[in-house]
């Protein structure tokens, strides 16, 4: 799944998938700005056929959070 996410990131951010580290996040990846983030969220929805609620969108700012969210089948954990 991580590879698929990297492929989506590669398309959205315009960087080669190999250059995206396993622990990529919005802090370290230059093109992951607010506009890139919105595009990434929409691209993930399209690729994984999930719907990401607005609050979750604000939280999915690292590879770790994204893969965890997708690993739960796109559902938000109940707190």
């Amino acid at each position: 799944m991580r590879e698929r996410v990297k492929r989506v990131m590669s398309d959205v951010f315009g960087v080669p998938a190999e250059e995206i580290p396993d622990d990529a996040d919005a802090e370290t990846l230059e093109s992951w700005d607010s506009l890139g983030h919105m595009s990434l969220m929409l691209a993930l929805e399209a690729e994984f056929n999930v719907s990401i609620p607005s609050e979750t969108m604000l939280e999915l700012i690292s590879m770790e959070e994204i893969t965890a969210f997708l690993g739960r089948g796109g559902s938000t954990p109940q707190s």
């Binding site: 398309d11 959205v12 919105m38 595009s39 929409l42 399209a46 690729e47 607005s54 969108m57 604000l58």
Partner: protein, 594 residues
């Protein structure tokens, strides 16, 4: 247009980003766009790049920060003007223009509401006027963007003033009307076009609340397509000829097998869908698009349908030319292009058979081949949505041209009955009127500069603005030519620019529409230019020929008329020595403005 899924929109965005990085490696013609909107459209640029790539343009897009439409347009020192854009796309959402009304409709009734509408639309119109003045070459695309909701949705009556719907509609109507203020202001009616899909699918609440984006990706992609089709229409990048298949395209079934009475075509059921497609084709015919046929059939069977089937909307007289035989359709299309004297890039091929479509796509790649839906009932709406015949507006000249193509056919049959060409030409009673370009003819003159490829000596693509400047320049004559003969009026079908400097007059532009070729009109036109040069005191007339892939037929135009080859591409005529003879059978009227 079919609706765009989120997946498709993402793919388009990815392609657009790649195009941005490619730096136009296909070397397409370029255009610089500036986008001004009342909301965040930062996601738009790659989608515009993608839409424009499909119409053969590479665009550079600059988005100015949102919410400063008027400020940017009114301030000559703004970022907008620093970019010197060719095109400015304005996207004012009505919800932003009428923000106080949407915020609290109860506080915005009566006079205050009217005042709001007037102030906002007047301010926008004034800023657009200033934009057009500050960028005298640019085209402005004004998006009419509705709201998808009334200010007070819980009041149901559309006429109730508290609901606010009438005010929203009034603003939209005002925006639509702004098209009349300049030929360089193109109205992009997103409100109307998005209705067909339902505007809700182009909005995403998360994108609004998290990023102030009023359109989601499919919305921005569809808007980009719409702007692209307006751009194509504005620049005349449209097609002129339809090549039609017959069996299962114009009617249901195969006439060679089912016979005249066995084909499906009429007022009922699927037969009506075939008829409706024919109605769409007839509408195009009425506006000057040529209809032709390339069919594998026995000609007698097929023509009998045109002549005798009661359900046919299209008659034989609507066809500019046809090839009904058993040869391959790529050859038929090439022959049609030759017969009509039009380039293959003007052609669109409609055929229900995917194999024939593929054959043409590969064999004659210049021809546009739409993917005609397999189900006949889907075809009328599919055809209506094709952008390849769209134009911004329809002029009297367009309608006249449609008329004149029909007349050309009668004229051609007369040609075969006259015994010699001079006799034939004399029998036409041709009269040409040459006139200095004026406000009423500028549009048509610019249109000809944009569209004429074959009889065009220098292929200068002058715009309305260019022509206005040229017409005002000293020593410069900008002429249009109109042709009449005993069959009717072809309207303005020729154009020339003559620049005189000292003892030399240079023919900077000379072009004629292919409808009037082969009738020595070019000689009469040249004769007028030569006399004008003499009037202006010139001793030499210099003609220029700039070769393109399409204007081979005029390569020898000047040498054949006594001009001596000078330096590269220039030909010189010494007025003290020889003058090309002017044809005696054409009467010439010159109307020159003081």
């Amino acid at each position: 247009m079919t609706s765009i899924t989120p997946q498709e929109a993402i793919r388009r965005r990815t392609r657009g980003l790649a195009l941005q990085r490619s730096k136009n490696d296909r070397a397409l013609p370029e255009a610089a766009f500036a986008v001004l909107s009342t909301f965040n459209v930062e996601l738009l640029p790659p989608l515009l790049l993608d839409s424009f790539e499909r119409i053969g343009r590479h665009v550079h897009v600059h988005v100015s920060g949102f919410g400063q439409i008027s400020e940017q347009m009114l301030d000559p020192a703004s970022e907008l003007y620093a970019h010197r854009p060719d095109c400015v796309l304005l996207i004012p959402a009505v919800e932003d223009l009428l923000a106080p009304l949407f915020a609290r409709p109860a506080h915005m009734t009566g006079e205050a509401a009217n005042q709001l509408v007037e102030t906002q639309t007047a301010a926008l119109q004034q800023s657009i006027a200033s934009l057009l003045q500050n960028l005298p070459e640019a085209t402005c695309y004004l998006t009419v963007m509705g709201s998808g909701r009334a200010p007070a949705e819980f009041i149901l009556s559309p006429g109730a003033s508290y609901r606010g719907q009438a005010l929203v509609e009034r603003v939209l109507a005002r925006l639509r009307d702004m098209g009349s203020i300049s030929a360089r202001l193109v109205i992009v009616d997103w409100d109307w076009h998005s209705r067909a899909w339902g505007s809700a699918q182009f909005h995403d609440d998360r994108m609004w609340y998290l990023a102030r984006m009023r359109l989601n990706l499919p919305g921005l992609a569809a808007l980009s397509d719409l702007v692209g089709s307006h751009y194509s229409a504005f620049h005349g990048l449209t097609r002129k000829v339809v090549v039609l298949d017959l069996d299962n395209t114009l009617w249901g079934g195969v006439v060679g097998e089912a016979g005249l009475s066995g084909i499906d075509l009429g007022e009922d059921g699927i037969g009506l869908a075939f008829q409706d497609l024919q109605r769409e084709l007839l509408n195009l015919h009425d506006t000057g698009v040529l209809l032709t046929v390339a069919s594998k059939n026995n000609a007698a069977d097929a023509l009998e349908v045109f002549d005798h089937h009661a359900g046919m909307i299209l008659k034989r007289e609507h066809l500019a030319a046809f090839r009904i035989n058993w040869q391959d359709k790529a050859s038929s299309i090439r022959e049609l292009a030759q017969e009509l004297n039009l380039g293959l890039e003007s052609f669109v091929f409609l055929d229900d058979n995917p194999v024939e479509r593929e054959w043409i796509r590969q064999g004659v790649p210049e021809v546009l081949v739409p993917e005609l839906p397999a189900d006949p009932v889907s075809r009328p709406s599919f055809f209506r949505a094709l952008s390849c015949f769209q134009r911004i507006t329809l002029t009297d000249a367009d309608l006249q041209r449609a008329q004149s193509y029909a007349i050309t056919k009668v004229r051609d049959s007369l040609r075969s009955s006259a015994s010699s060409l001079p006799e034939f030409l004399a029998s036409l009673d041709q009269e040409i009127t040459i006139e200095a370009v004026h406000d009423g003819s500028l549009g048509r003159a610019a249109q000809m500069c944009q569209r004429t490829n074959q009889f065009n000596l220098t292929t200068q693509r002058y715009t309305v603005t260019d022509l206005e400047q040229l017409a005002g320049a000293s020593g410069t004559d900008v002429y249009t030519l109109a042709v009449k003969d005993k069959f009717g009026d072809s309207g303005i079908t020729g154009f020339a620019v003559l620049r005189t400097n000292g003892e030399t007059s240079t023919i900077d532009s000379l072009l004629l529409s292919c409808r009037v070729l082969g009738r020595q009109i070019e000689d009469a036109f040249l004769g007028v230019l030569v006399s004008r040069a003499r009037e202006r005191g010139a001793r030499y007339v210099v003609g220029r020929y700039v070769p393109t892939s399409k204007n081979q037929q005029v390569a020898a135009f000047y040498p054949e008329r006594g001009f001596e080859p000078d330096t590269q591409g220039l030909f010189r005529l010494d007025l003290e020595r020889e003058i090309p003879p002017t044809p005696a059978h054409i009467s010439v009227k010159v109307k020159s403005h003081a």
